[in-house]
Amino acid sequence: MLEIKNLHARIADDGAEILRGIDLVVPKGEVHAIMGPNGSGKSTLAYVLAGRDDYEVTEGDIFWNGESILEMGPDERAAKGVFLAFQYPMEIPGVATMTFLRAALNAVRKKRGLKELTTPEFMKLVRAKAAELGVSDEMLKRPLNVGFSGGEKKRMEILQMSVLEPTLCVLDETDSGLDIDAIRIVSEGATKLRGPDRAMLVITHYQRLLNYIVPDKVHILAKGRIQKTGGKELALELEKSGYADFTGKAA
């Protein structure tokens, strides 16, 4: 279970407060969606969950499976099952995608007390998952994300997620930049990971994604706080009414 308690976070550089008391609980087995206007702090929340040190937590705590993760580095969190699919995946010139995937998988397996996969085992695993997501062999050989289209980068994020088998999946606008078919393919990839041992937090602007990855709850984040929580129908309401209600109030 993910429990976020009264989380306040600011930008380390200039001290500007972005998250202003987030309270959120995502039990295992559930998928929660977060929607909210641009600049409301959705990505910031995702980064703080993953442990990016550009942000400083000033108050509150984050528990994953009952354990506070705030003091853990990003790699330790990953070993504990935390995974963030980036809104803007980064390019790593000079590191072949396969090499990167292998380093990542070996690292988390080691931390999780599993033995390293042999080269053939690893290749087989990645090729199978890549095929499901429409990621070509050629892409796997190229440096990670370098020269990939926006949509290809998003698929690569989901491929990494399905290879690393995290238990807390945070998807930051994985649907933006994807064409209609790709949204379906990527959502199917994500939905496959749905299960009793996994919690998912899906950040999106569009109700379309939620037709594929049907959420148990929808939260509206504005001005650094959760303003409203509802069922999947909340997303539909938002499509009609927009965020005016939430950006106006709650100063």
Binding site: P74, D75, A78, A79, G94, A107
Partner: protein, 440 residues
């Protein structure tokens, strides 16, 4: 007029060593005279120091306090197993092999299968003993103090020629092996000629055998002449663990439509100075020089190059990448000269350093001397740290910070290593670079 200049201890040692060794060094007649002239030329200048512009960052007078004695031919026999171990990733490469042990050509360890109609190979020492007249012209008189010292002390080396329109089909591995258990000074001279239309991939691998002394001094000069339409790939590898001082000079002349691709890996000497001098002698020449210099602790690596576009329509590219940790100092000086006639010159130069420690230092001095008007020339230098965002991205995938840093550093130098055309050689160089990154 300079003869009365106060000498440093090292300069006096060099003179004494020369006087003591002159008799035993290979060659008599004009060879002895050449050596004596070179020694006098050196003595007049002395060791280069920081007030000599090209040596601004590498003050040899300051740094070379004690000069080890010239290496004597070792009685110690080197087995090919010992050699293979020292060669590491180069051992497995299918190559013609030429081996110099402590600066002396070893016929036993060298294996050259190419026909004499393809490759002509001679030991320099043997030829200096014979001293044919044509050989004298191979030793240029204006190479500066380090080359002068090399000429005075050269013990051996190779004269290697790839004949007109020939291609040996595999790389030629020129191994500089050090075995001496006492610190010694080596002076090796190689004269390489790739005749018109011929091809050569030459790999100079500097290796130390188990038990070799720390603190040795090597002065290696390699002159390369590339004929019209010929191609030469020239790779140098130095992955040191014995706090050595390494002075290397490459002087390369390119003929018409000749191609020269050079690469230098310099990892962890106490001090290295890599001089590269390029002269375009015929139109249509193409130069692609790159390198990776890796230093930590108090190590010091200086790469200084001069690219002389003496004729029109030539292209030059340089990319040098440094990884600097601890209090290491990396230096890149690149001068591009474009002579008045050298229209349509296309020259680009880039040097980049990745700083792994706040105490490391990178000095970059690009110089463009352009006397022609219709040219495209550019240079750039960057000095960066590991990208914090990329580091976070790697860590968010579970990769521990040290592994992530090594991976990002690897990718940084990868861009230069990838320029090595021969796959086996590229992989061997990559392996050595990665080994360096993973040792602390």
């Amino acid at each position: 007029m300079n003869v009365t200049t106060l000498k440093t201890k090292a300069e006096s040692q060099l003179r004494e060593q020369f006087d003591a060794a002159a008799e035993k060094l290979p060659g008599t007649g004009w060879v002895s005279a050449l050596r004596a002239r070179a020694m006098d030329a050196f003595a007049a200048e002395g060791l280069p120091h920081r007030r000599v512009e090209e040596w601004k960052y590498t003050d040899l007078r300051e740094r070379l306090r004690d000069v080890p004695a010239p290496g004597a031919a070792t009685a110690k026999t080197v087995t090919s197993t010992d050699l293979d171990r020292a060669l590491g990733p180069f051992a497995a490469i299918d190559a013609e092999r030429i081996v110099l042990v402590d600066g002396v050509y070893s016929a036993d360890l060298s294996k050259v299968s190419a026909e004499a109609t393809v490759i002509e190979l001679m030991s320099l020492a043997a030829m200096l003993e014979k001293a044919p007249a044509w050989l004298e012209g191979k030793f240029s008189s204006n190479g500066g103090a380090v080359v002068a010292l090399n000429t005075a002390f050269m013990s051996d080396g190779v004269l290697l020629k790839v004949r007109k329109d020939q291609d040996p089909g595999k790389p030629v591995l020129l191994v500089h092996a050090r075995t001496a258990t006492e610190p010694t000074a080596l002076a090796v001279r190689n004269v390489i000629s790739v005749e018109a239309g011929a091809k050569l991939t030459l790999v100079e691998a500097h290796v130390t055998l188990d038990g070799a002394a720390r603190g040795a001094l090597s002065n290696i000069v390699t002159d390369v002449t590339i004929g019209d339409g010929a191609t030469c790939d020239h790779i140098k590898s130095l992955a040191d663990a014995t706090a050595s001082t390494h002075l290397a000079t490459w002087t390369t002349k390119l003929g018409k439509d000749a191609t020269y691709r050079g690469f230098q890996l310099t990892a962890s000497p106490a001090l290295a100075r890599n001089d590269i001098n390029i002269l375009f002698n015929g139109e249509g020449g193409k130069l692609d020089l790159s390198g990776a210099f890796l230093a930590r602790g108090a190590e010091h690596i200086d790469t200084t190059l001069v690219v002389d576009h003496a004729v029109p329509h030539c292209e030059s590219r340089e990319l040098f990448k440094g990884v600097l940790d601890g209090r290491a100092h990396g230096i890149f000086q690149g001068k591009i000269i474009v002579r008045p006639d050298a229209q349509k010159t296309d020259g680009k130069q880039m040097s980049q350093a990745l700083m792994l420690s706040p105490d490391a230092q990178f000095s970059s001095k690009p110089e463009l001397e352009i006397y022609a008007d219709d040219v495209v020339c550019g240079h750039g230098a960057t000095c960066t740290e590991i990208d914090a965002d990329l580091l976070f991205y790697c860590r968010s995938r579970g990769i521990p910070p040290d592994v992530a840093r090594a991976m990002l550093t690897e990718s940084f130098i990868g861009e230069a290593v990838e320029k090595i055309e021969n796959e086996a050689v590229r992989e061997a160089i990559g392996t050595l670079a990665i080994d360096w990154l993973r040792t602390k």
